[in-house]
């Protein structure tokens, strides 16, 4: 019985590995991509973009990583990739310091290393595929604000917390642009939401009462978008609109209601697509340090600043395109 059970197992194992044996042939490149979390829809859409690019370029793509956010697993997967031998490793980094050690080891073995979405320590990778700069986010948010208000009027911001580093950088850029470019727009108040939908709801309600002339609420934290939109919706004020930065799934119902005009983020599919193009160029030697621009297939020419490859202007989700996304 032992023998029968074992031969059955052998069969299963062999079937499981079928097709996996070929690996990187001498002419084709093998690129290994790792998300923070394989199950997160945000990364699932990154994967779709990466697969699209892999087909276009004829590159073998390995996509693996933790099934839930797990720093230890990321290390183990990179270790296995170093042993296996791949041309490029690209990672969205969960644990900066811990993973950087392993990434440095990979570079020491001649493997090119990229990070995307979340960076490692700068000396542990060749390039970081950066999805958005503070300037780019501020520009896009104000473009929408100006369009909605017709270039003139008062608006208020609902932020994450008053000390949130990312948000404060965006606000700084917004203030600069208000002074130089969008002089007709007036920012009257900034309220915290502490990344809490209910808090954003309460703050938006009191904003609408305190500033009757405010015609737009800009919610710049993911949970603040539905919170602010719900408050405006319940107020019944048809003359007030919401825009902001957040996840399309949170925004979907309010975009369809018309309360929420638009929500800005980056196109995660394009992020995966660009990462694979960058990996390919890096391995083939066409992308070197010091480059200032980079051709990435259907994304055309993108800017490179130092060791950051920029995905470019943030992506705007509206009621017309939001159904194509699920994260």
């Amino acid at each position: 019985m032992t023998r029968r059970a074992l031969s059955l197992l052998l069969l299963v194992a062999a079937a499981a590995c079928r097709g996996g044996g070929g690996g990187a042939s001498s002419e084709g490149l093998t690129v290994a991509l790792m998300p923070k979390n394989k199950g997160n829809p945000y990364f699932v859409s990154c994967r779709q973009g990466a697969e699209e690019a892999a087909r276009e370029l004829g590159v073998k793509l390995i996509w693996d990583g933790p099934t839930e956010t797990d720093a230890a697993k990321q290390n183990e997967v990179v270790e296995a990739w170093i042993t296996r031998g791949v041309n490029v490793i690209a990672v969205s980094v969960e644990n900066r310091e811990g993973l950087s050690t392993v990434l440095r080891k990979a570079r020491g073995r001649g493997i090119k290393v990229l990070t995307f979405d979340a960076d490692a320590l700068p000396d542990a990778r060749d390039f970081f595929v950066n999805q958005a700069t503070p300037r780019g986010i501020a520009e896009t948010l104000l473009e929408h604000t100006s369009r909605i208000l017709g270039g003139k009027g008062e608006f208020a911001i609902v932020t994450a917390s008053l000390t949130a580093a990312n948000q404060n950088e965006w606000i700084k850029e917004i203030r600069e642009l208000l002074a130089s470019k969008y002089t007709g727009l007036k920012l009257v108040d900034i309220r915290p939401s502490d990344d809490d939908r209910k808090r954003a709801f309460d703050e938006t309600q009191s904003l609408l009462k305190a500033y009757p002339n405010v015609k737009l609420v800009m919610a710049i934290a993911s949970p603040a978008v539905p919170g602010a939109a719900e408050a405006v919706k319940q107020s019944g004020r048809n003359d007030v609109k919401v825009t902001g930065l957040g996840l399309p799934n949170d925004a979907k119902p309010y975009l369809k209601d018309g309360v929420l005009d638009s929500v800005v983020l980056w196109n995660t599919q394009d992020l995966g697509y660009l990462t694979l193009y960058a990996a390919n160029a890096l391995a083939r030697g066409t992308l070197k340090s010091g480059a200032t621009s980079f051709e990435a297939g259907r994304l055309k020419s993108l800017r490179v600043e130092g060791d950051n490859i920029l995905l470019g202007t943030p992506f705007t989700f509206t009621k017309d395109n939001v159904d194509r996304f699920d994260f």
Binding site: G20, D70, V77
Partner: protein, 313 residues
Amino acid sequence: MTDAAISRSTRALLLLLAVELVVFGLFGRNFLTLGNAFEVVRASVELGLLALALTAVIATGGIDLSVGSLVGLCAVVFGWLAREAGLAVPIAAALAVLAGTLGGLLNGWLVTSLRVPPLIVTLGSYSLYRGLAEAATGGVANYTGFPDGFLSLGQGTLWGGIPTQLPLLLLAFLFFWALVHRSVIGRGLQAIGYAPEAARHAGVPVGARLRLVYVLSGSVAGVASLVYVARLGQAKADAGTGFELMAITAVVLGGTSIFGGHASVPGTLVGLFVLALLQNGLRLADQPAELAGVLTGMLLLLALVLSRERKPS
């Protein structure tokens, strides 16, 4: 629990290991290399330490579900002491092992004094220890920036590429092998697992023995947490999540009866490497890691089928 049965289950397990080597040798890239062997060992040491200590616990018919959580708690204790409180690394490390020992002592005390079944006790401490680690750090504090000398415990190599932590695993193996298979204490442990009342009447100090195995399990979890922190370079409350179940799987796969009364320390080590090679081999064959879960489950069920004839009582 005859000698023939033991060797039969160990033989089957070694055969499994051989099957893995052949299959992944054919389909995995660079699988059969010394470098890969060392990486597999490096990644398995923490789990191996826990599994060895658990073998002694399970020999008594007990279980310790809290070891993974204890790894998290000790990691946080160590990280806080070394990075926030500014203690020297060796002192912080000793205190982290002490924290693990105390955690094990609490388990042992509850099991022996209150006569609560170990499954219930350690299910409680499983939540308690992880909860403490998370509460102390808010779940977000992540201690990093440990000195290189400490990190080399997890990332460094000895002569010719041997992972620094391998001697630790071998030491633990020898200790638990001698304890379980070559000492009076070990025979007592298996006697407790086989029939606690009979062991008591035969003069085995049941309470003291049980406290010993839980304390050892806690101390070992403390040591494992240090290796873990050194390997990843970070101490966070989520350290060691899920390790308890992986370690128990290795023990049961290795032929130790989950009902107690019969244990195999060498079997645990083979069971550990069967699991570790499965994960590693699948990755090198470009297969998704989820498949490892499916195959681990199949292996475990197969091991249970193979050991059916050995069910005690």
